[in-house]
Amino acid sequence: MEIDFNLEISQYTKDIWEQILGLEVIPTTEDFSPTEKGTTLAGCVQIMGSWEGSVELLCPAELAKKVASIMFGTNLDETSEDDIKDALGELTNMTGGNIKSLVHDADQECFLSLPAVAVSDIQMHVPGTHEVAKATFKHENHLFAVRMLKKVEKKK
């Protein structure tokens, strides 16, 4: 069966944001061009084993802050950088874990790395990978995206 990754990512992302944060997010065809205003944060988890690649959650800093303040139950202005990294990391972990279950091969093991969160330059191209899917979402006036990157197999 051919899996429509964009569709699955949309569903997972909607579920995660709704169940964990109580936020409604809507898949959109708008393009996510975060360079326009403010910083973008990227949460990233690696998938290793029968499928190799990574899953990224690209999120404007302002939205990441909101997410953290919801998860920690704090006011926006008392939300720390650590809170933001933790919250975004966990969302990335959930997204990545769900995606892993779609790509892995049932007979082989496949692992998920711990999440890493960093400031992202969106045009960033991870060498040795190609983008398998990218889904963009809208929450209120914020756009964010989930990218799935597969490692390119080296030619022998």
Partner: protein, 123 residues
């Protein structure tokens, strides 16, 4: 009743901890499997541990294996709460001695329903 919440994300420890408190549990938390084993000794006994899978130092699976080696923890229920959602992982955790399994993302109802399956609902 007492619960040990084990997750490397502080946010999840907080959220799960709040859910458990609302359901009537006294909550202690730990950030990885090793810390959790230490808390079993220092803060136990617990009626249940909620266990994430992927964590630094010692992962949740190894925690389950280790906790189940010690007969003194036989009565403690172990419930995985993790983003690992493959059938093979669920089987592996159950075989190691986990009693229940919740796939992230979770809601309060899911946790409450699973607790009542384990006979731990407070009524």
């Amino acid at each position: 009743m007492r619960a040990l919440v084990i997750d490397d994300s502080r946010a999840i420890r907080l959220i799960l901890g709040q859910v458990m408190k609302k359901l009537g549990f006294e909550v202690v938390d730990a950030g990885d499997g090793q810390q959790a084993l230490d808390k079993l000794k220092s803060d136990g006994p617990f009626d249940i541990a909620l266990v994430d899978w992927n964590m630094p130092v010692m992962n949740g699976y190894d925690f389950v294996v280790n906790a189940r080696k010690d007969p003194q923890y036989n009565d403690m229920r172990l419930m995985m709460v993790t983003t690992e959602t493959e059938m093979a992982q669920v089987v592996k955790a159950l075989e190691a001695g986990a009693n229940e399994y919740v796939m992230k993302p979770f809601t309060k109802e899911m946790i409450a329903e699973k607790l009542s399956l384990l006979g731990l609902s407070i009524e």
